[in-house]
């Protein structure tokens, strides 16, 4: 079954490569070629940058009822970043719904929106690809060795679009080191704008 899903996904990508996405405007997004990606069961589709590495673990997706792809920028360092597109199906138990996801990602564990290591922008109501959405932006330091006494950390900048659906919800996110964030922010916006999910 896993092979069938994988093969189906490969075929979808191959088909999609033939019908590449609309050229983007400006910056990295303008230079990048896009192709269409369709998740199993047509949970969602979107244009993804051809040069980015796409990965997925179908077995884990089925286990958690969270169907997601991860896109890794072709350049590391100052032009790096990771885009994730995820569908949290109605039977997923990790979050009770989109509001739980928003509440859990727009504040730290103290319920703060600002601390010495984190800054969360207020959650914004917005529209994405013609549907209602919530936007979360945040910057945070992340420790690399939490169980040892080393304090080495990396500074991340992240943006999420959370889209409610009749059954489950969607999360589109972009995460990069703060200095690398601007280089590929436009690519993420282009992916987000091309997003189509179940109502």
């Amino acid at each position: 079954m896993k092979n069938l899903i994988l093969a189906s996904m490969i075929f979808s990508l191959a088909c999609a490569a033939a019908c590449a996405g609309v050229p983007a405007k400006g910056g990295a997004a303008k230079a990048a070629a896009f192709k269409k990606y369709t998740m199993d069961n047509n949970y969602f589709s979107c244009s993804v940058p051809s040069a980015w590495a796409l990965s997925r673990d179908a077995e884990e997706d089925a286990k958690y009822s969270i169907y997601e792809i991860q896109l890794e920028a072709p350049q590391a360092g100052k032009a790096g970043g990771t885009i994730k597109i995820a569908y949290y199906a109605k039977d997923s138990t990790d979050f009770s719904g989109f509001q739980d996801f928003i509440d859990s990602n727009s504040k730290n564990s103290f319920g703060e929106t600002k601390s010495a290591r984190e800054t969360y922008e207020p959650v914004k109501k917005t529209k994405l690809a013609g549907r209602q959405a919530f936007e979360i932006s945040r910057e945070m330091m992340q420790y690399l060795h939490p169980e040892s006494k080393s304090d080495e950390s990396v500074q991340l900048k992240e943006k999420f679009y959370v889209l409610p659906a009749k059954e489950g919800f969607y999360v589109l996110s972009f995460s990069a080191e703060k200095t690398a964030y601007p280089a590929n922010a436009a690519v993420f916006e282009k992916v987000a704008k091309s997003f189509k999910g179940k109502p």
Binding site: K2, N3, L4, I5, A7, S8, I10, F11, S12, C15, N42, A51, W52, A53, S55, Y64, Q70, E72, A73, P74, A76, G77, G80, K90, T93, D94, F95, S96, G97, F98, Q99, D100, D103, S104, N108, S109, F110, A116, R117, E118, K125, K127, Q132, Q142, Y143, L144, H145, P146, E147, S148, K149, S150, D151, E152, V154, P164, K166, G168, F169, E177
Partner: protein
């Protein structure tokens, strides 16, 4: 796209998927033919063939007619699958040291990957990437090149020779060691790391290849900055400044702590707390061995009260009676001592808390309230180690070999993350303690951050974070099993050719099963020639089918997975889209 077109495309996709499926596993060919093809492809490192083989029950069954050959083939296939999954993670050049740790335990002499042609020379990984993952992004390839310590990256492209000091043989006296590109390219990653660790002792530029050493240097710089802030504040007397002159920074920060003690040095409370958190303990704040033993006993009952009433805490308590000990844990906040069954809490972290609160060893011994505070403060670490206790107890009960793997850390850190979140919701004193502590103590800051990360990512996302950021140097369960099985099957084959007397001698005087069960995968793989045959065969059987191991991890995760969900929304109720 209209509905009809979509339906057609979907049908085509399904059809193509079926065709691809058929091609992938070559279902039309007989099992013997497929097995032969798998053997050839896996020996040349083909990850797709490796994954197909692992899913082809018929071919695996056929391979098991020769158990040793089957074990080797399975080990190589699992190692290739594991390598592909490792490299699929979003590695950036800045994370090359973590990738280096992950690769160093996988690519080495006698490892399954080397038998499949990916090693032991690290550059073979680049060739493998080019052959089997040609679309691998350039940025990630850069991270891989840095991770394998490619000569050009480490020493530049302008030279093929590098001189270096080696112990007493220094270049200054014309006795240094010359390292050539050819030497380097013949070394394993482990050997390259040893050379780099030696180089960084004398040349700070090489610290970039060791996150721990680099972070330690940064910590020292932070302490220097704090000391200078106090010295430049104008709050110290000329005599006090005189005492600081010429001392090391560690000594200066200690002396500053003694100046603050019981005096009115006019620097901010924040700066005082920073100095007190950074300095060594004063004699009255140090817990001597006897008092540490007493405190351990007192914490054993205090911690049980602290954990009760939370889902994760109750789960930790269900691990059985928790025995707490207080001892130095070197660079960690805690550890589980499987030999004594005790959870060991780091005495320096406890002493740091005492310094921040102004407690002394004597006051703690006399105050049940201060002990309860320490139990509260350290309780996330107790939960984390309780998960390790459960893992060790399960292995002992089952009587199986249980290597320390990434899945263990995912389980332990997830349990801790759930506990800290629950506790912060239920217990304002606990929340306040982490809140004030995080400004001065990386322990409190890290416990808070694990809670934030678990809360935002939950079971699936958090497991990805643990694998990638927190413990990339540990093998996965699949990787560890593959490594051990491969070493065992090779050794059993070697023994089959030994004279009976030599084999009997080995079986009577070799290391026992109990000795082997204590070993890490690395140690076991490197010691197979010294272990009794029956012990090797037993461990090989343990690792032949990993379903029992996986079942335990899954059961553990299921026990806590919904905890935060049920506390943020009524169980089973899904949010409906809001009106915008």
């Amino acid at each position: 796209m209209n509905l009809s077109a979509a339906k057609t495309l979907r049908l085509a996709a399904i059809t193509a998927g079926l065709l691809c499926f058929g091609l992938n596993v070559d279902a039309g060919a007989d099992a013997a033919g497929r097995l032969a093809r798998y053997e050839a492809a896996i020996s040349s490192g083909d990850p797709a063939a490796a994954m197909d083989f692992l899913q082809d029950g018929e071919a695996r069954g056929l391979a098991e007619k020769d158990m040793q050959k089957a074990a080797e083939l399975t080990a190589e296939a699992e190692a290739l699958k594991d390598l592909k999954e490792l490299l699929a993670m979003p590695w950036k050049a800045a994370e090359a040291n973590k990738l280096n740790q992950s690769l160093a335990i996988r690519i080495d002499i006698d490892k399954p990957l080397s038998k499949a042609g990916v090693g032991p020379e690290p550059e073979k990984l680049l060739a493998w990437l080019g052959k089997y993952l040609p679309a691998y992004p350039a940025g990630k390839k850069d991270a891989v090149k840095k991770a394998i310590r490619q000569w050009d990256i480490v020493f530049g492209t302008m030279t093929d020779t590098r001189g270096m000091d080696w112990a007493q043989a220094t270049q200054q006296y014309g006795q240094g060691v010359n390292l050539t590109r050819a030497n380097w390219e013949g070394m394993t990653l482990r050997e390259r790391n040893t050379i780099l660790n030696t180089l960084m002792d004398t040349e700070p530029a090489f610290l970039t290849y060791n996150d721990e050493k680099l972070a330690s240097m940064k910590d020292q710089v932070a302490v220097m900055k704090t000391v200078n802030e106090v010295k430049n504040s104008g709050a110290l007397s000329a005599s006090q400044l005189g005492q600081l002159a010429g001392k090391s920074f560690a000594d200066q920060v200690y002396l500053l702590g003694s100046f603050f003690d019981g005096s009115n040095v006019a620097v901010s409370a924040d700066l005082k707390a920073k100095v007190n958190a950074a300095r060594d303990s004063m004699p009255k704040e140090v817990l001597p061995a006897q008092q540490r033993d007493l405190l351990g006993g007192m914490l054993t009952s205090a911690v049980a009260k602290e954990l009760a009433g939370t889902t994760a805490g109750d789960r930790a308590l269900a691990a059985g009676p928790l025995k707490i000990e207080v001892r130095p844990c070197d660079g960690s906040y805690s550890r589980y001592d499987a030999a004594s069954g005790a959870i060991v809490l780091d005495s320096e972290t406890i002493q740091q808390y005492m310094r921040m609160k102004g407690y002394t060893a004597e006051s703690v011994m006399k105050s049940r309230e201060q002990v309860a505070e320490i139990a509260k403060y350290m309780s996330p670490s107790v939960v984390y180690e309780a998960a390790h206790k459960m893992q060790a107890d399960w292995a002992a009960k089952q009587g199986v070999y249980k290597p320390h793997v990434q899945e263990d850390e995912i389980e332990a850190m997830s349990l801790e993350g759930v506990y800290t979140n629950e506790k912060m919701r239920q217990d304002p004193a606990f929340k306040g303690m982490l809140d004030s502590g995080r400004q001065f103590s990386s322990y409190a800051s890290k416990k808070s951050e694990i809670a934030t990360n678990y809360r935002g990512s939950r079971a699936k996302g958090f497991s990805q974070t643990v694998r990638k950021f927190y413990v990339p140097g540990l093998p996965s369960l699949d990787g560890a099993a593959a490594q051990v099985r491969s070493a065992i099957s090779g050794e059993l084959a070697r023994r089959a050719g030994l004279p009976p007397a030599e084999k009997a001698e080995l079986d009577s005087s070799g290391l026992t099963l109990n000795d082997a069960l204590e070993m890490s995968p690395e140690e076991l793989a490197g010691s197979v020639q010294e272990i009794q045959t029956a012990a090797l065969a037993k461990i090989g059987r343990d690792l032949q089918d990993l379903a029992a191991y996986r079942g335990r991890y899954e059961a553990s995760e299921t026990a806590t997975r919904g905890t935060l969900t049920s506390s943020t929304a009524p169980a089973g109720k899904k949010s409906a889209p809001p009106a915008l």
